[in-house]
């Protein structure tokens, strides 16, 4: 582009007047960016037109800009600076009140945080208590179910009821056997037996009398843990008597007769 010819064409004067099309305006804009001489020319044209038009203006009121600012809601910075340099009592009050409010807020916030933490601890304690109580209730429920079952066992008229009396080794001992033949089950009430010494367990025997032959029904391994001392064992034998001996843990193949605690015969009814 021949810059001189471009400038001489008069397009820049029309550009400042706003008499060009959008396309031409963009063209001039791009030319200005590329060539500083063109921008310089435009600035000179503009300055001349500003002066020409300003010449036509009769004097204007100095108040106009103030009223424009007022209309736009713009603050007067000079007034602001004044008020900062001469702080009034009101400003101090405002500042003190502000600080006081901030301190109150901080204290209040700390108190709230503290309160929140302690309440959280309480909640977790209460949750634990609740869980514990729930477990207890469950235990009671299962105990109740056990008891009901026992009661049914005791009341069942098909049960054979055998009392086992204490023998020489421990005469005060006694036990009860409830035998449900149809279910092939015996329920043992061992409330009358002493706690077995450490390393020893009670072993339950089914006996036939003629000839005397014992069959082990099993050992009572959880004697101490069972609170109501009722135990359930399988019994498929045609038992004529039941005996309980104290044996080493794990049980024995044959009863140790010296340690026979209780013995009872099934009555022929």
């Amino acid at each position: 582009m021949d810059i001189k010819t471009y400038i001489e064409s008069g397009i820049l004067e029309l550009y400042v007047a706003g008499a060009l099309s959008d396309l031409e305006n963009r063209e001039v804009y791009n030319a200005m960016l590329k060539h500083p001489e063109i921008l310089h020319e435009v600035l000179n044209i503009e300055a001349a037109v500003v002066k020409l038009t300003a010449q036509v203006s009769p004097s204007t009121s100095k108040q106009i800009y103030a009223s424009i600012k007022k209309a736009l809601g713009l603050t007067d910075e000079d007034t602001k600076v004044m008020s900062l340099n001469t702080p009034s009592k009101n400003t101090n009050w405002l500042s003190y009140t502000g600080w006081a409010a901030a301190v109150f807020l901080a204290v209040g916030l700390l108190w709230t945080l503290n309160k929140n933490a302690s309440l959280n601890t309480k909640v977790s304690t209460i949750t634990t208590d609740k869980e514990f109580l729930e477990i207890q209730i469950e235990d009671v429920h299962s105990d109740l179910a056990d008891t009901k079952k026992l009661l049914n066992v005791v009341r069942d008229e098909n049960l054979i009821n055998i009392t086992l009396d204490g023998q020489a080794v421990y005469p005060e001992a006694y036990a009860k056997v409830y035998w449900d033949k149809s279910e092939a089950t015996v329920y043992l009430d061992l409330e009358g037996l002493p706690k077995p010494p450490k390393g020893k367990v009670y072993q339950i025997w089914s006996l036939t009398l003629n000839p005397l032959s014992p069959t082990s029904l099993g050992t009572i391994d959880d004697f101490n843990d069972n609170t109501n001392k009722i135990f359930e064992l399988q019994n498929n034998n045609a038992s004529q008597a039941f005996g309980i001996t104290l044996e080493p843990a794990g049980g024995s193949k044959t009863p140790t007769m010296e340690q026979l605690y209780t013995l009872g015969v099934v009555s022929d009814t």
């Binding site: 001489e8 064409s9 008069g10 397009i11 004067e13 029309l14 550009y15 400042v16 007047a17 706003g18 008499a19 060009l20 959008d22 305006n25 963009r26 804009y29 435009v42 000179n44 044209i45 503009e46 300055a47 001349a48 037109v49 500003v50 002066k51 020409l52 038009t53 300003a54 010449q55 036509v56 203006s57 009769p58 004097s59 204007t60 009121s61 106009i64 800009y65 009223s67 424009i68 600012k69 209309a71 736009l72 713009l74 910075e77």
Partner: protein, 176 residues
């Protein structure tokens, strides 16, 4: 560059930039508006509205589409023309028959400090009638090149070259 910075700050609603632009262009805009409405107080009123409008619409100015001066010049011309069309204005108007800006140049008595040392009379005497006409139409009235050509009954290319020569003359007078 400085002017571009001012304008971009103005578009970001910087009040100082706005005031600087006001100081640069308010008198010029007042002249353009006054030339159309021919009433000093109404011209002030319209100019005030123009700058308020410019502030509110600052983001609509796009440098790629033209000069900031041209933008606000357009707003001013349109606002002034709108004013002359209002009913209230028509009933009270006077002095609208004066044809060119030179006819309403303030008399020596009206001149205040802001007026340049260059005398108004110098303008009138130095600018040829041909120039007064073309400057009037293109800058004060916002005519397009084509409209000016039709009004002046000259070829469209002549408007361009005549205007170029007249602006050169003007620059000789006002910018030394």
């Amino acid at each position: 560059m400085q002017l571009e910075l001012l304008i971009s700050k103005f578009q970001q609603k910087d009040e100082k930039a706005f005031e600087a632009l006001y100081n640069m262009y308010s008198e010029s805009m007042h002249g353009v508006i006054y030339n159309i409405v021919r009433d000093r107080n109404i011209a002030e009123e319209v100019m005030q509205d123009v700058f308020i409008k410019a502030w509110h619409k600052s983001e609509s100015y796009d440098a790629t589409k033209g000069r900031f001066f041209t933008w606000i010049l357009n707003i001013s011309r349109n606002a002034a023309i709108d004013k002359t069309r209002s009913k209230h204005f028509k009933n009270n108007s006077k002095n609208l028959d004066a044809e060119y800006f030179v006819d309403i140049l303030p008399s020596q008595d009206d001149l205040n400090d802001s007026t340049d040392a260059i005398g108004v009379a110098k303008f009138v005497s130095l600018l040829k009638q041909k120039c007064i006409e073309v400057l009037e139409l293109l800058y004060f009235k916002g005519y397009t090149q084509k409209e000016a050509a039709e009004t002046l009954e000259i070829p469209i290319g002549t408007v361009k070259t005549r205007n170029r020569n007249c602006i050169n003359e003007l620059r000789q007078i006002v910018l030394n």
